[in-house]
């Protein structure tokens, strides 16, 4: 898993989306159990058919309210991560998507006003650790809502599975020690 650098300035092309982008748009049910290589080609295609084909590693998704509403399917943030999206900045996030993104190691930042800050295709500068979002073209900057420490820790570890790996290794070691 790529290291997540929350303190670095992430720079990338902005892909703008509206309010209530659902998990059905992010990860359509028809491809629910298809391999990731196939699933990622359908991410958000219903609202922007060119997105899954033209998005580049390091790009930033900027969206409106309630991003990721709907299902608990982790394939929603997974598809964005597989396409190389560096960060999702949204006016607000649906709860389960928010948790899932962090659990997978995909940086997310709630930032009211973010939609107004950018036009589609602008460059964005994001520092997740400082909840800072900037549009270098206009020179305007916003402060989002900082992630709670528990989420920062999981992101910095590279996702919750890295924590689980450590937990399990400890258990195996302890068991071996006892035996």
């Amino acid at each position: 898993m790529a290291e997540v650098r929350l303190k670095d300035v992430l720079r990338g092309r902005v892909w703008k989306f509206g309010d209530d982008i659902s998990t059905d748009l992010l990860a359509p049910g028809a491809y629910a159990v298809a391999p990731l290589e196939e699933r990622k080609r359908h991410v958000l295609e219903a609202v922007r058919p060119e997105f899954p084909h033209q998005v580049r590693p390091g790009d930033v998704v900027v969206a409106g309210r309630n991003f990721g509403c709907g299902s608990s399917r982790e394939t929603a943030p997974e598809g964005l991560r597989a396409l190389g999206v560096a960060c999702v900045v949204a006016e607000s996030f649906a709860r389960i998507f928010f948790r899932n993104a962090v659990a997978l190691g995909l940086p997310v930042l709630p930032c009211p006003g973010a939609s107004e800050l950018f036009d589609d295709g602008d460059e964005a500068e994001v520092v997740v650790a400082e909840a800072r979002v900037r549009n270098p073209r206009t020179g305007t900057e916003l402060r989002g809502q900082p992630l709670p420490p528990v989420m920062v820790e999981i992101l910095e570890a590279g996702g919750i599975l890295e924590r689980l790996r450590a937990w399990n290794a400890h258990r195996v070691q302890t068991k071996a020690g006892r035996g």
């Binding site: 748009l25 629910a32 982790e74 709860r95 689980l164 399990n168 195996v172």
Partner: protein, 420 residues
């Protein structure tokens, strides 16, 4: 100061004297649910990490309900891998093809109990609040963590209280209550929050109604939704419930809203938003290609019975196809024994196996470009049930059944119910 039900359950699960809204805690979970879309990935993940045993295999349920029976060779192979994983980890609560929808099964079999903290790889895990359990949806990676360690982190949510008063006037239903709340307060009404029902009329909400409401609370962003333990809960479990947690009278609520049930009427959520809600009478006349009665929201005997009142002795309109999916095998059997299914079939309904049916857009009754569906399920997002060019309307079993009869969306009061 006292605790809301969310605080009372999380305090116990976190092993602390007291917790408050906003606090971060590590909790011991009481039960984990995994269904077939994610069970394969879960077992692969555990294998990849070298996890050779679960925290407590008797507190994990695996249900094949989303793609059931398997619609393709690939899914059949997935189901086979899941069965192998179930065997490998010694999971006793395994529900194979055709047993029904996970949320229905966990309540029906009383695997979920009042006061439990339950996590599921399904957003509609809020359904467990119908029996006063704290149920919430998580993803596959967090589930891997939970089934291995038996723990997970939570932020204690603030609670919004919803007081119910007055009496429901049929054909308005409990589905219309949750549609009303979505329409009135929006899809972010209780984002990151718990929703707790109270008030003099809450005792009139039957278990099926509580499950419909708690189920769809997640469409308003709810982390948990609670009907605190009462006579309905005690009757269902056949216990006095003396040890079940309850909200304290002096608990702190972020906000209180109230609903006069006597003012509710049949409602419809219009495409593509769960909170774009209008009275059915204002949507009257929209032609319907497919009507769907089922899902974890409204696939219970009470729902099929209500639908049958409109369909008995009639035929589904020629332009409309009606799909019915009982929420579980027990529902299927009871509806069959009581002649409800026979009435629906005689009216032209296609009865699907117990399970999720077309609700999540994977198989069985998907929609084509330009088609319209009115269903009793929980989501009408663009692309939810097949083509992004299709439109989905959400309503109660009465509204959907009445609409199937006339071939267009109608207020059920426009269709006379059959007698006897």
């Amino acid at each position: 100061m006292g605790h809301t039900l969310a605080e009372a359950i999380l305090r116990r699960a976190a092993g602390q004297q007291t917790v408050r809204a906003g606090q971060f805690v590590t909790c011991e979970v009481d039960f984990c649910l995994v269904h077939d879309i994610f069970a394969g990935t879960l077992f692969d993940t555990l294998e990849h990490l070298g996890v050779d045993r679960l925290w407590d295999p008797d507190r994990v349920a695996v249900v094949l309900d989303h793609f059931s029976p398997a619609p393709s060779a690939a899914v059949a192979s997935l189901h086979r891998r899941i069965r192998q994983g179930v065997e490998r980890f010694g999971i006793r609560h395994f529900f194979d093809t055709g047993q029904g929808i996970c949320h229905q099964l966990l309540v029906e079999r009383r695997l979920v109990r009042p006061g439990m903290l339950v996590v599921g790889t399904d957003s509609h895990s809020t359904t467990y609040g119908a029996v006063a359990a704290a149920g919430t949806g998580i993803g596959t990676s967090e589930m891997a963590y939970a089934v291995t360690t038996g723990t997970l982190w939570f932020q204690v949510p603030p609670t919004v209280r919803c007081e119910l008063f007055g009496r429901l006037r049929p054909p308005a239903s409990w589905k219309d209550l949750i549609l009303h709340l979505l329409g009135r307060y929006g899809a972010e009404f209780v984002q990151y929050r718990a929703l707790e029902f109270s008030g003099e009329a809450v005792s009139y909400v039957d278990l099926a109604g509580r499950m419909s409401v708690a189920n769809m609370a997640v469409e308003a962003g709810a982390k948990f939704c609670f009907f605190p333990p009462d006579a309905v809960t005690r009757r269902f479990y056949g216990e006095d419930g003396a040890t079940w947690p309850t909200p304290d009278p002096d608990a702190a609520y972020e906000r209180t809203v109230s609903v006069d049930l006597s003012g509710l009427e049949p409602l419809v959520a219009l495409p593509h938003r769960v909170d774009h809600v209008r009275p059915a009478r204002e949507v009257q006349g929209v032609p319907v290609d497919q009507a769907f009665i089922g899902s974890c929201t409204n696939g219970r005997v009470e729902d099929l019975e209500e639908a049958a009142r409109y369909l008995r002795g009639r035929r589904v309109h020629p332009r409309t196809r009606l799909l019915v999916a009982p929420a579980s095998r027990a529902v299927y059997e009871e509806a069959s024994r009581r002649g409800i299914l026979a009435d629906l079939v005689a009216a032209g309904a296609v009865v699907l196996p117990p399970g999720c049916g077309p609700c999540f857009g994977g198989h069985l009754g998907l929609l084509g470009d330009g088609e319209r569906c009115v269903g009793t399920h929980n989501r009408n997002f663009q692309g939810r049930m097949g083509s992004p060019g299709a439109e989905i309307y959400l309503a109660s079993p009465a509204t959907v059944a009445a609409s199937a009869v006339v071939g267009y969306i109608t207020d059920p009061r426009e269709v006379e119910v059959a007698v006897g």
